[in-house]
Point group: C2
Amino acid sequence: MLLEAVYHQPKSQYAYAYDDETLHIRVRTKRGDMDRVSVVWGDKYDFQESTITVTEMSIFTQDTMFDYYQAEVKPPFRRFAYAFKFEKGNRTVYLNEVGFNEEKLLSTGVGMLWSPSGMFEYPFLNTIDVKRPPEWVKDAVFYQIFPERFASGDPSLTPAHAEPWTSESIPTRTNFFGGDLQGVIDNLDYLEELGITCIYFTPFFEAYSNHKYDTIDYLKVDPQFGDNETARKLVEAAHERGIRVMLDAVFNHSGYYFPPFQDVLKHGEKSRFSKWFHTRELPLSTNPLNYHTFGFVAEMPKLNTENPEVKAYLLEAARYWVEDIGVDGWRLDVANEVDHRFWREFRDTVKQANPDAYILGEIWHNSQAWLMGDQFDAVMNYPVTNSILDFFIKDEIDAESFMSRLDATLIAYPKQANEVAFNLLDSHDTPRLLTIAEGSKQRMKLAVLFQLTYTGAPCIYYGDEIGMEGGPDPGCRKPMIWEERYQDQDLFAFYQTLISLRRNHRALRDGTFRFLSAEKQEKFIAYERTDEFNRFVIVINSSLNKQTVTLNEFGASSFRSLNDEE
Amino acid sequence: MLLEAVYHQPKSQYAYAYDDETLHIRVRTKRGDMDRVSVVWGDKYDFQESTITVTEMSIFTQDTMFDYYQAEVKPPFRRFAYAFKFEKGNRTVYLNEVGFNEEKLLSTGVGMLWSPSGMFEYPFLNTIDVKRPPEWVKDAVFYQIFPERFASGDPSLTPAHAEPWTSESIPTRTNFFGGDLQGVIDNLDYLEELGITCIYFTPFFEAYSNHKYDTIDYLKVDPQFGDNETARKLVEAAHERGIRVMLDAVFNHSGYYFPPFQDVLKHGEKSRFSKWFHTRELPLSTNPLNYHTFGFVAEMPKLNTENPEVKAYLLEAARYWVEDIGVDGWRLDVANEVDHRFWREFRDTVKQANPDAYILGEIWHNSQAWLMGDQFDAVMNYPVTNSILDFFIKDEIDAESFMSRLDATLIAYPKQANEVAFNLLDSHDTPRLLTIAEGSKQRMKLAVLFQLTYTGAPCIYYGDEIGMEGGPDPGCRKPMIWEERYQDQDLFAFYQTLISLRRNHRALRDGTFRFLSAEKQEKFIAYERTDEFNRFVIVINSSLNKQTVTLNEFGASSFRSLNDEE
């Protein structure tokens, strides 16, 4: 046994409440090292030989180095004291909070009442602390819209300097095409036909740029897109079709033309907004930059979310759009650079306005610190994005490594965070999927197939479904192609089929996910998704060569090819 | 290199802000495995060969299995992207968020702007999230008083059924002796002479029992002890002598005679307090118990701190004693069974009333989930208690294991939590120190010497300093012995000397702590505490035999024996 490989941390992603009565207990061991791993548990005030339970754990995920065991337990009095028991051949080793012991389960310590003070503890399952993301997200298929580029529905709003909207239009960092909210309302039929159930809008509040990440007024729709009434109309029309709406909260920084920032630029120390930003000194200087910004972008000054006035302003915006306009969620831009304290208050505000609102952090990195229940429901699942791209699109990793990297995300967070993770393959920040795939529709389809049959909520970037291409920003932000002759109808049908399959079968959304095959140096995978009604077995070959895959237990007749050309 | 032994978790006790500009980055490796470990870091938006820094880490703590490396870094833009570099012989291995790589520092991922998406990140050092315990605790020496047993100052309050207060008095679970708050006021001279700087009171709010952990009214001093004016007088008189006061917040459960509980007992569902407790069903039954309690004690019903009314009531108590009466801190009884959400609001309430108030959780187990800055300043340091008892008092572990177990606490929490940890050796919940030592004053002195020269704030249980003995509750709760002929004056002088040494030399309170010797199978240790003014080297022999210890660098003349009899 390699004891140095064993890892457990109480009250973390290794020991958390899944619901009001269930705890998930996890432990890490070296891959393939143990014959059997169990959790030995009981009530913390009655931990005796006669009352303790030994529950065998099972491997719920693996990576190239480790096995991760998990057990689900329901402590009758909501209190939980525990240790682990590792078995290999003739050897048995126990691990409790004090350390490893080869002989017996030691209960070291001065002892408090009947408390076994050497045990790990989940002291009490308080229901208010249980992480509880909105249920609807498990069933959702998101569709990301960049408002300036999806559709123009009200020509009167189109900026005078806008360029013509054609299938040949070339976006630059600064040009405009005239997309607006009425354009989205006019095309809800299209979205309904595709089958998506939630629109994620990149920002549509008043801002200077075409991407609107440089907010001027957080409480107002950008006049190029309509007004707050158009937004309300849009939300209502979408809701009537069973489509929800998520907005983009750019609370890390404002735009250069945000009036409080302009005031500080002008009045320095004397500005009544002098504490609204992360300034290093006053007066402000953009060169050298003497205030904190997003990246090193002088036009995006970092908001001081520690300041009560700033907090009140932003939280009012968070409340307003949810409560007064009816939106169903917030995607939080650059979420990990804003303080935790702000996000806790943000969560309270938003959930009070609508307990079912979805709170999604934009974090590209390990997000455990935001996902324990007090801050976000989920994060944008970039580790899954990267893994899907590397395996299906770029052909850079083998099946085992693909599995390993997906599994790393499963162990990194409580299960309920992964169930509502936001699985995107591309966005306004990256090249388009088909472009990353160097035009290979085959590869693109494999990636989409996986995305739409994996755990978590998939998101489609507008236009991907009709074969739009485009490199990194600004290339990926072309105006949506509406002329049918330039739309890839086969691809659209492929998306439609997969979305409807997912929507019709709970197993594909919220069922158990399990790899059946993901081997070293192989380029194919097989996995299953199961619920009480259905069992789907999906086999995907990501190599250029034909591959014969033998899976026991199944007759060939049960299979259906989703990709007839291959 | 044993890569399976390596552990790091971003935004945790392995990567946290120590102050407004400093991050502590830690990583675990197998003990003795590496030649050199470094952290490779830069700004997340400008992570290039030319701009990254390589900082060598040093081993800051060890246990029997692992080395724990730490580096202190100050990212100029408060943003931090990093990876680790491990070197051993000719081999170099890098670890970033994606995993290990033998060749070079890979930056895998789709890449966002200039973000190196494969790196670990501390995305932004927001000052409001920095854990910042009150500075005064580093300098404090606590003294724990069980109010019913310290001193009687107002005979008119003494219960009629109280027993005589003599050095022979035998406490039972139910008898009374008549201690009160005036008795504490009357003996502040004594406490000042001893040298302590903060009194920690077990509960003195109105309650039924002699220990007062079964509260009836959280806003009122128990009539046996005085009234709220006596409490205010006590706090003022203590403050005049530079002595602070910490109270006991028993917010996990109330007493049986708490009026809202009585109301629920009587009126069941119809009680307006029906949601104030963790009831499983109504009407309430004590046998079988159908409501949650502390342990299985029917007389201590668990308060439903999720209920807004309960929360408002308890938070008002938290505020009142700090703001209106002037107390300096709260010790939180059974802190880990109350919800995290409650404690976050509790912290806000208390720190608003007095930003310098100390918030101390009673947790006997790993407390990382409460110590990241949003909940408690520190916890009662039972792992240190147990280690000191096992090494100095019970003679059960060797020096290496002692060091190892102390070090486990250092790596378990951010440094600032350990700097203000509450180091007790016994309490009203355990046998007295001298009794655990089976009457060996020698052993007791060694434990106290270590306690008073270790990191964190020491606490003395009333009467230990004059040699009081007593077994587990109720034995450890004898009335304080005030007759000088029954007080051990030598022991008192020993405490006095050590306390004054600690108070006079910052190195002993807040200096660097480092073991110089702590070897396998040995029973002696040597350690140093250093600041810019002083360097103390302390050698303690815990065995029955004389021990010759050779420490290089020091002349014999620099040493002073604190324990002349040995």
